[in-house]
Amino acid sequence: MSTSFRNLLSSAGGRVIRNWEVSLTLILCFTAILFPLITALAISKGLRCQALISVQSGPAWTMVGEKNGSSGPISEAALKALEEELGLSGKKEITGRIIGRTTFINRVVALAGLDPSRVAGPFPLDQGRQIHREKEVLVGFSLAKTFHLHPGVQFSLPANPGVIFTVAGVLKPASLWDSELLVMSLSEAQTFFRKNGFVTEAAVATLPLPSDRIQGLEGKGLIPREKAHQWLNKGYQATGGIFIPFWIMLAALTIPALLISSGLGQSETTREISLLFSLGWSRTEMMVFKSLECGIISLGAAALATLCSLAWMKGANGMLIARFFVAEVGLVPDFPIPTRYLPLPTLAGWMFVFLITWIGSLAAVWSGTKKAPYGALR
C-alpha cells in the first residue's frame, strides 16, 4: 500500500469518525435497506437447494397421467402394461405413489401413499418407529405438535371417517416438506381416497429404450429428472417474483438514503473539499478520498446487514419475516426455514450502497472544487 493511499485511507477514516452521526445514520439506513434483500436471497437459495435435493433424490423418470388436458391420475393397469411392454415385469423398476391432500380437523394436509417397498422407510423420525403394520401412518411434526399426536394415537379424517389410522411415528423436522404430512401405504391411500387401482405418479427407475422412443413417451406424461431440474432452476431464476417488491422497496428507500448522503452535511463537505482543494489536493485525490469514505460506509452497512440477517434467520428461525417468503408458516415457524448465505448478495449489497453514496458525494466534490476558499470559509 503506497503512502499516499494510506494517508487518504486514514483521512477517510478520520472523516467518518468526525461526522459519526451522519456516518452512523447512513450505515443504519442502508443496513435496513439491505437486510430484507439479503434475507430474501438467502431464503430463496435455501429453498432452491432443498428443491434440488428433492429432484436429485427422485427417480430418473416420473410418469403422470392425463386428464382434461392437464396432469391426472394414472391407472395401475396402465403401469403394468408399460412394465410388460418394456420387459420390466417383476423388477420393481416402476413404482406408483399417491400425493394428495385432505383436511385434518381444520388444516389442509398433504398425504403421501407409498409403494410397500418405500413405505417402510427408513424415514428420519423424531418419535416412534417406522410403519410396520396396516393402517399405520407417520405424521409431520407440525401436525403432531398442534394436535398432540404421538405414537399410538388413533384418528380418522373427515374425507373418509370409516378409516381409522394409528400414529406409528412423528417425522423429524428436517425440511418444510415434512411439516404437515401424512405418510401411509399406497393401498391405504387408495382406500382413503376411494380410488382403487389409481396412482398420481409413477417413479420409473430405468427406461431401457432408444432415445426416439423415450421422446415419444415424454409427450405422454413422462418427465425426465433433467427436465424437472431445468424447470426448477428456470423457475427460480427467471421469475424471481418474490423479490420484485423488495427491489421496489429498496429503490423507494434509497431516495431518502440518497437525500441523506447528498444532503446531510452537504455544506460542510463542500467547505471541507474546497479547503483541501485550496491546500493543493488534486481532484483525483479528492475523488479517491471520497470513494474510500463511501467504501467504509458501504462495507459497514453490507456486513452489518448480513450479520443481522444471519442472526435473525439462524437464531430466531426467521420469526415474523419468514411468512413473507414461505407460504403458510405463521409468525413463528415451527420447522427450520431453509437459508443459504452466499457472498454474492452481500457483495451486490455492498456495490449498491457504494454506488448510491458515491453518486451522492460526486456533487459535493464537484461544487467544492468550484468554490473559492474564501467563499467556503465565509
Partner: protein
Amino acid sequence: MTRKETILFLILGLLCFSTALLMVWDHWTWEQGKTGDIKAMQKALGGLGMGAIAGPVWNFINYDPRIMSYDDALTWPIPGGYSFGPDRTATITYFEENPQKGWMEARRNQ
C-alpha cells in the same frame, strides 16, 4: 493513523471477518450435516413432485373453492412465482379429493 482511526478499521475488519466466517460455517453445515435428513426423507418419499407442503392450503394447481374463495396462487404473495418449487405448494399432478357429504347442497344453498 490515529488511535480512533485504528479502532474504526479494526471494528470494520472484525465485522467483515465475522460475516465471512459465518458464511463459511453456513456453507459447511449445508455440505456436511443439514442435508442428511432431507435427503433421507426425499429418498423415502420418492423425491420429485412433493412440492411445498408446509401449508398445502395454498396453490394447488387445481384450486378448490371449498378451501379458498379465490385462486390465491395468482396473487399471493407475489404473482409470477413458479409452481414447481417448494415455496409453492403445487404438486406436479392432481389427485381429486372426494367431496364431503352434503357439500353440493351446502354450495347450492349459498
